[in-house]
């Protein structure tokens, strides 16, 4: 497929502004600036673009809310806190195509009437930081950022803010807390960030990949964009494939590409001739699907129909050598240390889940512990403040559901016998 978001990223200097402009960069911005803000919002609505951070909320509607919200100034915030295990697409975009993101943000600022923007970047991405800062500097030099964007009356200032290593700050309200200098914890909604976000002002928070789709929409038009991918999940999509495949990496494919095509046609199939056992299709926050589900198209609706989710499209592929108890334990441990501590079920429940799974792993468990896991997960699921707790419970219960026998074997057989990779 034609690479849109990763256009020209094979070129060694794809991150340079001259190279970006050479291949047509910042043309979409000119188109947007010639149009009225409401026309831009309309175009994005027509494209039916859905947020690429995981929740899949229609971007055009989010912008519309921010336009309608009272209060000024308004802010555009890019969520570049790519912390979802198995996900590394935004990193590639920021390292190889930073001007695409900047272009998307300037268009967003024009659309909603923001004069300041922030890129909330996870601290673990030092190269992305370098590239973004250089790109922002060059964009100022070229008057793409500043007090007169492209010679118009539009003002837009952009800066990078580094997070401090908390997974929860990928949640947009926790991100805003952190951006304000507080400890990042999700906030009560309503009010939503579009009405009261950063410093209590209307704020659009969009994922890196979402914003990188904006120039494309402006360039080819919302209607044409909507024809890419599936009708309910249009557009190109970056899929991250990791785990037991021959060629892990980021692949740009239309929305709705099946898992099978992704793994076998693009990622080169399974490693070392092993068998596919399970897939986590959307980063560690979504339920595991077993091998027989791989004909499912990778889009928002299809995956939720089979009980999982597109999430961040971080596809983690596991073969028969992988111990699923270990996977469950690893997931629970991740959620325990990444729980922000705000609500009880997530704070206490994830740790407890981890401890019980650890006992199963070392052969210190009893059969009743399997129902205890269900009980703890049941106490978490649906009862937490933000989706993080739900995710922890869902991942673990999906693994237990699909691979219950493996857990029973561990309990009866005195622990894990798989070799640790």
């Amino acid at each position: 497929m034609l690479k849109r978001l990763l256009n020209n990223t094979d070129a060694p200097d794809s991150a340079e502004i001259d190279e970006y402009m050479r291949v047509g960069g910042y043309r979409a911005l000119k188109v947007a600036l010639d149009a009225s803000p409401s026309d831009v919002v309309e175009e994005v609505k027509q494209s039916n673009l859905r947020g690429r951070g995981g929740a899949g909320f229609p971007t055009g509607r989010k912008w519309e809310f921010a336009v309608a919200a009272e209060g000024s100034p308004k802010y555009v915030v890019c969520n570049a806190d790519e912390g979802e295990p198995g996900t590394f697409k935004d990193r590639v975009l920021m390292e190889k195509n930073p001007h695409l993101l900047i272009e998307g943000m300037v268009i967003a600022s024009h659309a909603i009437g923001a004069e300041h923007g922030y890129i909330y970047l996870r601290r673990e991405y030092p190269r992305a930081l370098d590239r973004l800062e250089r790109a922002i500097h060059d964009a100022y030099e070229h008057k793409i950022l500043g007090d007169a964007v492209c010679g118009t009356s539009l003002r837009f200032h952009l800066e990078v803010f580094q997070g401090a290593g908390a997974y929860i700050c990928g949640e947009e309200t926790a991100l805003i807390d952190s951006l304000e200098g507080r400890r990042g914890q999700p906030r009560t909604r309503p009010p939503y960030p579009v009405t009261a976000g950063l410093w209590g002002k209307p704020t659009v928070v969009n994922n890196v990949e979402t914003l990188c789709n904006i120039p494309l929409i402006l360039e080819i038009g919302g209607a044409a964009y909507a024809k890419i991918g599936t009708p309910s999940s249009p557009g190109p999509k970056l899929y991250c494939i990791s785990g037991c495949v021959q060629k892990p990496g980021v692949y740009e494919l239309p929305m709705g590409t099946t898992l099978r095509e992704l793994i076998f046609d693009h990622a080169g199939g399974m490693r070392n001739g092993h068998r596919l056992k399970a897939v986590i299709p959307g980063g560690l926050s979504v339920p595991v699907v077993p091998a027989d589900a791989i004909d499912c198209p990778m889009d928002f609706d299809s995956l939720s129909e089979i009980g999982s989710s597109l999430g961040s499209a971080g596809v983690i592929v596991m073969d028969e050598t992988v111990c699923m108890v270990r996977v469950a334990h690893r997931a629970a441990h991740f959620y325990e240390v990444e729980s922000c501590g705000k609500c009880v079920p997530c704070r206490e429940g994830t740790g407890w889940l981890g401890k019980v799974l650890a006992r199963i792993l070392v052969g210190n468990a009893e059969p009743a512990d399997l129902s205890l896991i269900d009980g703890i997960a049941g106490a978490i699921y649906g009862n937490t403040f933000c989706p993080l707790g739900d995710s922890a419970a869902e991942v673990v219960t999906s693994i237990v559901k699909h691979f219950r026998d493996e857990f029973a074997e561990h309990i009866e057989g005195g622990g894990c016998r798989a070799e640790v990779a």
């Binding site: 309503p190 729980s339 922000c340 704070r347 740790g351 009980g375 106490a379 009862n383």
Partner: protein, 869 residues
């Protein structure tokens, strides 16, 4: 308007059903609070009525018809037709699950946890279970932290509801606490590494639902159910008059508690109110009368003391007339005490020579402002600050002088009000939108310039008052260039829809204080602002209102008003002298000459008046000095007779706060010794042949209501609850601006332009806090506070000893560099024995308000070697 919504009191309401009951609730009120208001209790651990909804503990989960998931009632917004169920099997299970999770890391050390018995977690486990837990692994271990002398943290008990962090941040505005750690390791820590670096308001203590944060004053002393009784009363520390609860055990104060929402202070207290009560039970209290024999104060009987004083007063009155007798009343005494005191002086001693140390601030300013703008101009409710969109703070830091008023300003700022500060208010630093820090002496001039600008930006009419303002402004035309921040300050005021002005004592204690007051009056009038006057004592307004001023009788009636005088003479069975008496500083000047006897009730002028050596000499020159107090003070040491009185919480009566709210202060503990101030005065009056018999404070109040036109509508019943607000009468406004010749500020700076100023500490209350061990470690000694630039210039480092000398005396104290100070002043507090700032200051009396002007007193600073000290 959607179906079912209505309007009630201008608020849109929503109709919803909770547990089968149809309720009309205000739009925007979250379901948990709406239910609570309707008497339906939904369990919660993280909800706290003083802070924003949080949604963390998940105990308040409820079922909502049509919503597949359980919802947290604390964050849920009601909608028309919403149907909510608060108790069901599903919910009990969900709550039991939450509690089981909470208990896995909770130490369950209830047997020795002080919270046991009043612990929300305990209550809820009792109601919802579980009776056993399935958790078998190790619990988290977090060592208890006792590094702070006042606030002990046992974070294993913490349930991470963040109520402490939220109240500190959202309400107190101190932002001293945060949560640290993730997952099960989440716990609260102060930002400071060991001890708390905070305002010690202790508002986090009642906020904690478990025993994670406790006051060391009460730890392991008793169980909550061993309290003998609780008495709701009014704090005795400052002019705000917060309502609080005294918990009594074995006839002593076990704890100062507060219930969220209690009183207009909503249950909030400051460090003094919560922890500054130990002086009441101090071993240093005066227990018997003392009389001077052959130069020494010796214990004597009440009879001897009273008859000695009576005899001496009678003799002085006989020989020199009543004008030779004077009295100093006290803002720490009740309205009843002060009323009886002034009555005794007026009819018992035939003297109007009565004043108080409120002359140094509140009384001086209040009278002047009322004379310009009408009665009650300063009587505004503190809570109304929340509705203001611009707040101008001048003359001191409200967060130190009247802390709860200060935190109210912070809350208003948090909700969008713009705060402008003229001068030094470090407690508002993070909340200030505009700030002008002129040289201290120039502050009245800046205020005048502010009035000029604000008047120019306002549409003055050609009404009589506006014309006076125009004329005054015309005369004022300031010559100095506007200081930094001035334009912002003007903008803040002229764009305000609902402004407030908060005036502190520093602008009153000046030779030219009346000019500052005139400008404040003008600004108040032009802006239509609410005016708040800070008061250091708990009953400064009451003191004025019951007539403890030389020129006015109870209710503010001028001395010499013949009809009022006649009425009072009848009621008091004695004649009231018709010429105004001497004001405070005039009394001092006249001591030993025209004034031969001074009766001081609950006050310490020897320590708390400027030019200490002069005052000391004046008091020593008296023929008779009588002091009635709870401690043997500097003034007591000079007295001929010292009479032990009762302290706050030992006696009944009323205080009037700065809002002019009359509130009951109640007896909570039985006094061990001493007599009520009013009783001592009555005993003395009887001994002088002028019996004043009262059965108790209630009867005195009865008479006061008759005597004072201010209290016409006051009845005993109306004092219950939140007290009674004196009616404002702003109609007869004279607004007479002062005319020249203009008094100028007196500059007494030393060669290098360094002057000495008063530090008003949040952690001290006059000299009573000397006897409050809980507060002393917070700032354990008097220090010379100065800016880092001045310290550099004088080559001084933190902790080095310096001698501060003025012509009035000198003290030796350590240096403390204070980053909030930005001018060339050295600040010293007036709390520590022998190291008070006031005694070192020279003064010139403001000719209009009669307040002593203390501005710009030069000081010499010399480094002192340790051996020398």
């Amino acid at each position: 308007m959607p179906r079912g919504s209505g309007m009630s009191d201008g608020v849109t309401t929503i109709t919803m059903t909770i547990d089968g009951r149809e309720l009309e609730v205000p739009e925007g009120t979250r379901v948990l609070r709406a239910a609570r208001a309707a008497g339906i209790s939904i369990p919660s651990l993280c909800d706290y009525e003083l802070v924003e909804p949080f949604g963390a503990c998940r105990m308040c989960l409820v079922e909502v018809e049509g919503m597949p998931r359980l919802q947290t009632a604390c964050t849920l917004l009601p909608a028309n037709g919403m149907t909510v169920i608060t108790e069901s099997e599903v919910l009990t299970k969900a709550r039991r699950d939450v509690l089981e999770l909470l208990l896995i890391n909770h130490p369950l050390d209830c047997p020795f946890c002080d919270k046991s018995g009043e612990c929300d977690l305990q209550h809820m486990v009792l109601k919802y279970g579980p009776t056993t837990g399935r958790y078998t692994e190790e619990k988290r271990l977090v060592p208890a932290d006792h590094s702070d002398h006042l606030l002990a943290r046992t974070m294993e008990r913490c349930i991470a509801c963040e109520r402490c962090v939220r109240i500190c941040d959202e309400v107190q505005g101190a932002s001293a606490l945060t949560m640290v750690g993730r997952g099960g390791d989440t716990r609260m820590e102060p930002f400071s590494p060991d001890a708390f670096d905070c305002e010690y308001c202790g508002n986090c203590l009642p906020a904690c639902p478990v025993g994670a944060i406790l006051s060391t004053l009460e730890m392991h002393n008793y169980r909550p159910w061993q309290i003998d009784r609780e008495v709701e009363t009014v704090c005795g520390h400052c002019g705000v008059g917060c309502r609080l609860v005294v918990q009594v055990r074995d006839e002593s104060i076990a704890r100062i508690a507060s219930h969220p929402g209690l009183g207009f202070n909503r249950g909030l207290l400051c460090a003094l109110g919560r922890f500054g009560h130990e002086y009441v039970g101090s071993e240093d209290r005066l227990s018997t009368p003392l009389i001077r024999r052959e130069g020494d104060l010796e214990e004597c009987s009440w009879e001897e003391a009273i008859s000695f004083v009576a005899e001496r007063l009678l003799r002085i009155r006989e020989i020199h007339g009543g004008v030779a007798i004077a009295g100093v009343a006290s803002p720490r005494c009740t309205n009843e005490d002060n009323y009886v005191f002034q009555k005794f002086l007026r009819v018992g001693c035939a003297s109007n020579n009565i004043d108080s140390l409120s002359r140094l601030g509140f009384a001086a300013a209040q009278h002047y402002l009322e004379s310009m703008l009408g009665s009650g101009i300063t009587a505004n409710q503190i809570s109304s600050i929340n509705g203001c969109d611009a707040i101008l703070v001048v003359g001191g830091d409200p967060t130190a002088i009247n802390p709860i008023l200060g935190t109210t300003i912070r809350q208003a700022a948090r909700h969008g009000a713009r705060v402008g500060v003229l001068g030094h208010a470090p407690g508002l630093e993070r909340f200030t939108a505009a700030e002008v820090v002129p040289e201290y002496v120039e502050e009245p001039a800046v205020l005048e310039a502010l009035l000029v600008e604000v008047a120019a930006a306002s549409e003055l009419t050609d009404g009589a008052i506006d014309r006076k303002i125009s004329a005054y402004v015309e005369e004022m035309r300031p010559s100095c260039p506007p200081p930094d921040g001035f334009v912002d300050l003007v903008d803040l005021l002229v764009t305000a829809a609902a402004p407030a002005i908060v005036l502190g004592p520093e602008l009153v204690q000046r030779s030219d204080g009346y000019r500052a007051l005139a400008s404040v009056a003008g600004l108040t009038r032009v802006l239509g602002a609410r005016l708040f006057l800070l008061a250091e004592g708990p009953n400064e307004q009451g003191l004025v209102d019951v007539g403890c001023v030389p020129d006015r009788l109870p209710g503010g009636v001028p001395v010499g008003d013949t009809s009022a005088g006649k009425k009072l003479a009848e009621m008091w069975r004695g004649s009231v002298p018709e010429t105004p008496g001497l004001s405070l500083m005039e009394l001092v000047e006249a001591a030993g000459r025209d004034v031969r006897a001074l009766y001081v009730m609950g006050e310490n002028p020897a320590f708390k008046l400027p030019n200490g050596s002069h005052v000391h000499g004046a008091l020593s020159a008296l023929e008779l000095l009588v002091v009635q107090d709870i401690f043997l003070t500097e003034t007591g040491l000079l007295a001929d007779v010292v009479l032990p009185a009762l302290a706050w919480s030992e006696r009944d009566g009323t205080f009037t706060n700065i809002e002019r709210r009359v509130q009951r202060t109640k007896r909570a503990v039985a006094p061990r010794f001493g007599r009520a101030d009013w009783k001592i005065v009555c005993d003395l009056a009887a001994a002088m042949g002028h019996p004043m018999d009262y059965a108790g404070p209630d009867q005195i109040l009865e008479e006061l209501i008759q005597a004072s036109p201010l209290y016409e509508c006051l009845s005993h019943g109306s004092l219950d609850g939140d007290g009674w607000l004196v009616r404002r009468d702003l109609q007869p406004q004279e607004l007479e601006f002062p005319t020249g010749p203009w008094i100028q500020a007196v500059r007494r700076e030393g060669r290098n332009g360094v002057s000495l100023g008063i530090e008003r500490s949040l952690f001290h209350s006059g000299t009573t806090s000397r006897h409050a061990p809980a507060l002393r470690p917070i700032c354990p000694e008097a220090t010379a506070k100065l800016s880092s630039s001045l310290a550099n210039e004088l080559a001084l480092r933190d902790g080095e000893l310096v001698r501060l000398s003025t012509p009035q005396g000198s003290v030796t104290v350590p240096v403390q560099i204070d980053l909030s100070i930005r001018d060339r002043r050295v600040l010293l507090c007036n709390h520590y024995e022998g190291k008070g700032v006031l005694g070192l200051l020279d003064y010139t009396v403001d000719p209009v308000t009669k307040a002593p002007g203390l501005e710009a007193c030069g000081v010499r600073i010399e480094k002192v070697e340790v051996e020398e000290a």
